[in-house]
Amino acid sequence: MCYTNDHARLQYRDGRAAEVIIPRLSACTDTTKVVNHGRRINTAALQPMNEENMNPADEKLGALLRASRVSPALPPRFQDNVWRRIEDAEAPVPSTSRLFWLDALAALVLRPRFALAAVTMLIVAGALLGLRDGSQIARRDAQARYVAVVAPDSLR
């Protein structure tokens, strides 16, 4: 088997394995494509003209391209980071509903009609409660004044 391609092997967390092969410009005829679950697809038939069209100039060009191709080293914990990002993207957002209700409530509060009704209601409720408490305080004070006049403290 001729490996003139770039190979990468991904190991799923559930034990499955996948091999990814990226074809290079090469004289090798054993050209394969993405392999999943151990299955390998031969794509040589899709490239019937590769060998026939090869000439020294192409070989030089291929060699130059291979030489110029930079294959940087993967950063540490690359695979873990990839899986974590995949899981993060697929995980449900727990605060979505809360955020939705907050946004909806904020939008409701900012509606002029609702704001006007709420302010009116608060003013009326405060006024009614204040008048009730004020009248009770005035009544208590008036009673205390009357009792202080007709029944001095020395008798109570």
Binding site: L102, L122, L131, R145
Partner: protein, 164 residues
């Protein structure tokens, strides 16, 4: 911080300010409107919904009663000073101090009887139902009648004695 949360918190604070301001202003207005400084009988008119004729009768009773009450208060104050003088410098209750205490209690009882007589007269100057309510209320305030406190205290004291 979430923008919606900031909006809601701000709205809540604003609502509290609006409600509190409305409450404070209304309470002050209600208090000052119903308050009648200088009129000692304002409570009777407000509480028992008396008309002018009833208020005039009660005003006369009140005016007649005040000098009697003031005279009795002067007697009580003088007797208190005598009791204080009798108790001054002694560690035991002397017979003279006991005599003064008895005289003070008699004066108080006399004053209370006079006060209750006045309450009865005032209640009779009112319509029957408000009159009954007034009399009960004044007895409750001045004598502590119609209150379960002493009854409950006597029950608890009985329990205490039972234990001992």
């Amino acid at each position: 911080m979430n923008r919606s949360l900031v909006i809601l918190l701000g709205t809540l604070a604003l609502a509290m300010v609006v409600f509190g301001s409305s409450y404070a202003v209304s309470r002050h207005v209600g208090e000052s409107c119903l308050m009648q400084p200088g009129n000692d009988l304002a409570w009777l008119r407000q509480e028992f919904h008396l008309n002018d004729a009833e208020m005039a009768r009660i005003q006369k009773l009140h005016s007649d009663y005040l000098p009697q009450c003031a005279a009795m208060c002067q007697k009580i104050a003088a007797k208190k000073m005598e009791v204080e003088a009798a108790l001054n410098g002694t560690i035991n209750v002397t017979p003279a101090a006991r005599q003064k205490l008895a005289e003070l209690a008699a004066l108080r009882a006399q004053c209370q009887a006079q006060m209750l007589r006045h309450f009865t007269e005032v209640s009779q100057a009112m319509p029957p139902e408000p009159g009954r309510r007034y009399l009960a209320e004044m007895q409750r305030i001045t004598l502590g009648l119609h209150e379960p406190s002493e009854q409950s205290m006597s029950i608890s004291a009985g329990d205490l004695h039972g234990h001992h």
